[in-house]
Symmetry: C2
Subunit: 272 residues, 2 copies
């Protein structure tokens, strides 16, 4: 294996199946404003959630290899599906580079805040069917009761910018009614798109339920780990993220603005 | 090029980026019940609409090659994106086999029924941005005014089975308000998923507007062409379609039932 010397100035590499992982970029920038970020969105092969485990593990390996070209000091898997099914592949492909998954971080934070030991999880069909959040949560604390609900319309609603639309509220009400009577005190947003709908989701479930944003959770874990290993970036300004995509979706600019609240920097096309 | 002898007993090959093209299978079975059908859904690489033209043309070539293994007597492109951007690639890869595209058939039928010469088209963002329906319609009749509207939430609403849900009606009302004041008399369903929502769409636009289902339109064209070339199938029973997919989505069975109203036959996995 080819070794390179990581320094605190090396970038943090983040990848996702598409644009959703930008919520992780946003969360990293909020608490680690001096870090350089290299982001790869596999827009040619999005979505991963409906694909088989074999396919997802192959993609995870390739996506990691793309980031490794930029000699990152850490890899963050912003994709819940890859976190659930292929974090070991990423760790192997990353060699000595630490790799964090959004799912593990979200599960960990949820476990640490739930007092009633009843946690709700929402995500895509694939994430919910994989039962990965429930497994990760119960590995940390087997006494916690986990209730999950797939919300397949939340991603397209977020991408349409229907973040506060009456139809979105109707759909959210219907999906989240699933948790009535289960007395959850914590709800995990188990899909990187969902923070875009956080306000509406929070209003639907009411103020008694703590919302866990896995993107924020993984950003916190990244900060801890970088501090512990003496690898915190020291740059004075906030560098713009370096963006790579595997295909040129017309909507990348629009979605970047929706996720990040600013205009899109240059985007580089890479082959997969 | 390797030549094979087509007979009336050869199958009709149909491909789509995913499950949506099953509306074409349904339309073919309705008016050509004796035909054998081989269907390929590229579920590993769905959706095509957000990808670049170069990528789509590569996929179109590969998808056609998969169907050619089964020596079809005709190829139907059930994918609007491929019809718009790569029908020439399919025709070339198919050699002497005739190839029909869902888009051309839908445009042709719309032109033949519009009295006011004002046609509305709804489809995915990619189909609408490509302007392909407007081009195809104006190539047949340059005097027709075409108004288009992208309806990105219709595919996920259809796949969730929200075909008659209050939220779906709100969203449809908002999308289709675009046509108010344009006095269209014909509305083309420019996406293979939309026939699933046909009832709701029809009620939203009202009885004065003729709905054109491109899946039905291409089935009609297929019947004409087979009759003209003496290639109509003669089998006494309705054969079950032979289904190929490029990845195993958990939801294929559920979606097959939604699209076809019957249980899914065996599905074969092919590599792409």
């Amino acid at each position: 294996m080819h070794h390179h010397k990581n320094t605190p100035e090396s970038p943090i590499g983040i990848f996702d199946s598409g644009v959703g992982g930008l919520t992780v970029v946003r969360a990293i920038q909020a608490i680690l404003p001096s870090e350089r970020i290299i982001y790869f969105g596999d827009t040619a092969r999005v979505p991963y959630g409906s694909k088989s485990q074999v396919t997802i593990r192959k993609y995870a390996q390739e996506d990691t290899a793309i980031l490794m070209r930029y000699q990152p000091k850490m890899i963050i898997v912003a994709c819940n599906t890859v976190s659930a099914l292929a974090l070991d592949v990423v760790r192997k492909a990353g060699g000595s580079i630490p790799a964090l998954g959004v799912l593990e971080a979200g599960a960990e934070l949820a476990v640490s805040v739930s007092r009633q030991k009843r946690i709700g999880v929402i995500g895509t069909q694939a994430t919910v069917c994989s039962n990965a959040y429930a497994c990760a949560i119960n590995e940390l604390d087997p006494d916690i009761e986990v209730h999950s609900k797939a919300c397949p319309l939340f991603v397209p609603l977020a991408e349409e910018g229907f973040t506060d639309h009456p139809a979105a509220r109707l759909i959210a009400g219907e999906y989240l009614r699933e948790f009535d009577g289960h007395e959850i005190d914590t709800l995990v947003l188990g899909c990187t798109h969902y923070p875009i709908l956080r306000g509406m989701i929070g209003q639907t479930v009411g103020p008694g339920i703590r919302i866990i944003d896995s993107a924020e959770a993984v950003a916190r874990r990244a900060k801890e780990l970088l501090a512990e290993t003496g690898m915190l970036g020291m740059s004075g300004e906030t560098p713009r993220p370096h963006l790579l995509v595997s295909d040129l979706p017309q909507k990348f600019g629009m979605l970047y603005r929706l996720f990040m609240g600013s205009d899109v920097p240059d985007v580089e096309l890479v082959d997969v």
